[in-house]
């Protein structure tokens, strides 16, 4: 059996209603859990980019990418290993405001983790942190003993180290 690894799948698509349903269905059909999913605009006008993280074999990832590319609105799909991409996630921590003054250590945690305070109100303040999953997790562990009122982490966003030929593909296309 081929070993499971983490793969980042990038999907460039037309921005159409319903495509998310089609793409998630492909994972559902093969009983593969999506670890994280992010959809945003891409570097190309009117083209969306899905960034999907899965933990499975390369063989399955390749087949899934083939099935995704088959979808009419999908322009191109790629997959990469962690080593082939620059990737990160964002997180927000909501913490009771009194702790900021009572627990001096919290300010050090914020500084040491290169995170920042986004807002402060009389009841709570919010810290944002971007980085690798482990870094966010580590900061979570550090803050946990003080009490975290709310925590949320985004899906992975990533760019590949190598060039993706997507712009050339679009240029070649003669739209009639």
């Amino acid at each position: 059996m081929e070993e499971n690894k983490t793969f980042t799948i990038s999907v460039y698509s037309e921005n159409n209603v319903g495509l998310l349903n089609r793409i998630s269905g492909i994972f559902l059909k093969r009983h593969i859990n999506i670890e994280s999913l992010n959809v945003s605009k891409s570097e190309i006008d009117h083209v969306s980019k899905f960034t999907i993280v899965v933990h499975t074999t390369e063989d399955w990832t390749r087949k899934i990418v083939g099935q995704i590319e088959k979808q009419i609105e999908v322009i191109k799909a790629y997959y990469h290993t962690n080593e082939e991409t620059i990737f990160q996630e964002s997180a927000l921590f909501k913490i009771a405001s009194n702790l900021l003054f009572d627990e001096r250590q919290i300010q050090n945690i914020i500084k040491d983790n290169h995170s920042e305070i986004v807002t402060v109100s009389p009841e709570f303040f919010v810290i944002s942190k971007s980085g690798r999953r482990e870094e966010i997790e580590e900061m979570y562990e550090q803050l946990k003993p003080y009490g975290i009122m709310q925590f949320v982490r985004s899906g992975r966003i990533s760019v590949s180290k190598s060039e993706m030929q997507i712009s050339n593909i679009l240029k070649e296309f003669q739209y009639q």
């Binding site: 698509s13 349903n21 083939g66 009419i72 999908v74 322009i75 739209y175 009639q176």
Partner: protein, 577 residues
Amino acid sequence: MEVKTLKKEESKTGTKIRISGAEAVIHCLLAEGIETVYGYPGGAIMPIYDELYKFRDRLHHVLTRHEQGATHAAQGYARVSGKVGVAMATSGPGATNLVTGIADAQIDSTPMVCITGQVARHLLGSDAFQETDIVGISTPVTKWNYQITNASEIPEVMAKAFYIARSGRPGPVLIDITKNAQFEEFDFEYQKCTAIRSYTAKPTINQDKIEEAAELINKAKKPMIVWGQGIILGKAEAALKAFVEKAGIPAAWTILGASALPSTHPLNVGMVGMHGNYGPNMLTNECDVLIALGMRFDDRVTGDLSTYAKQAKVLHFEIDPAEINKNVHADVPVLGDVKESLEAILPLITENNHDAWHNKFKEHYKIEFDKVIKNDLHPEKEGLTMGEVIERINKESNHEAVIVSDVGQHQMIACRYAKFNTSKSNITSGGLGTMGFALPAAIGAKMGAPKREVVAVIGDGGYQMTIQELGTIFQTKVPVKIVVLNNDFLGMVRQWQQLFFDRRYASTEMTNPDFIKIAEGYHIQAKKVTKREDLEGAVKEMMASPNAYFLEVQVEKEDNVFPMIPTGASVSDIRLS
């Protein structure tokens, strides 16, 4: 109110005219060359039906008795004609009744456009009367689908729908149109779709792969071809024949590839797969080069993948990149339209024959003949066999009939023994194995090829799943021939119970109604045969009839279909008894 219809010239592409969304749908269909649509009306699609009424002299609507029947009829029409089949239904239950046929078309790559009515846009998502999220439901079983909520979207979406359904690897498309969009008026103009930015209908051919494939083929000592429906969908029958003959390679077919090369062609060595022929299955595990043409290595074809053709170099000619290495590793993937690929490779192929190797297929055939075929076609026991009925149909139709089969033992027997001279003659539900397919599909097939004789071969179980379509036959007077092979059992399941569940026949015995009376109730001429001496006369009478005809043949209750590869076993573990 004045009824407004377009004159022929006006409906040509490029002319603007103010019409309703419902009328626009009809103009789109006409612009796509559609002459026949199958469907069933209801509240949410009434504006379109109203237009169908106005255009009834130019667009023929066939009222099936169930929406599933409409999809299968559209499939049968598409499969014999090579055109896009069209089915329509109302929202909610009408739309959900289409799903089985859509799923069947998806897995068998049948070009089909389904149009469903939907509640008005302001009601969407409110659990309105007969509201169903058909776009969501049909997503996994369509090549593409789309919900139209504004009339102005109709021309572009319809044009895309037909282009997507028929191009590349064909498939079903569903367009859901809200009721307000059917009523709204807008400036209609139609432009056929010829390209979509994000969709590559067929990959371009890579000449290096063609050369690599040619070299392996030319060097092969024991090459074998397995072709699938891709040959028929890609209109590559002539290219296949030229290739087979020049290279002198024994060629076998999958169930959906049947009829692409005449049955009597000397290099046609039969069917592969679970109930396929002995030779091509056994020799799959002996050939040195396996040339797969427009087929997708279905598990019913390969059996256990870990033992399938392991010794062979596999060349896979395929239009859909997602099929490459999906089930079987391709040593040389030849991506592209199979007709273009075959035409490109032909000049590079050296003329050859592989007589000694071909003889091995003949030896295997002889074994299969003695152990299986002889008893199926020329039985000595008293009861009638399904095989002899098919053989009789072959004789009386001169191998020229379109055979539409349902699902079960009779299907395997029909596909094994039906003889074909002409392509697009074997219409069956392959990938989904949908019981109830054949009767409505035969209606569509006859309408898609009116000059051809269409014979539906159906089991007593599957017949009762869409038996109501006899009403469609009666009303439209479509002259299809219906043969029910009655064993009073869900035969194929019973066979498995016998072989793998110690003969525990759980819920497979059927107490059947008087099929003759039912057919006659629909005013269809009917006859029942229980004895061998009556078979020939009855089949002759059926074939000679200019009208629809129902023939019931009482066959042996507990016959089995062999050869058989048990599920999960290797193709060379094929059993002859």
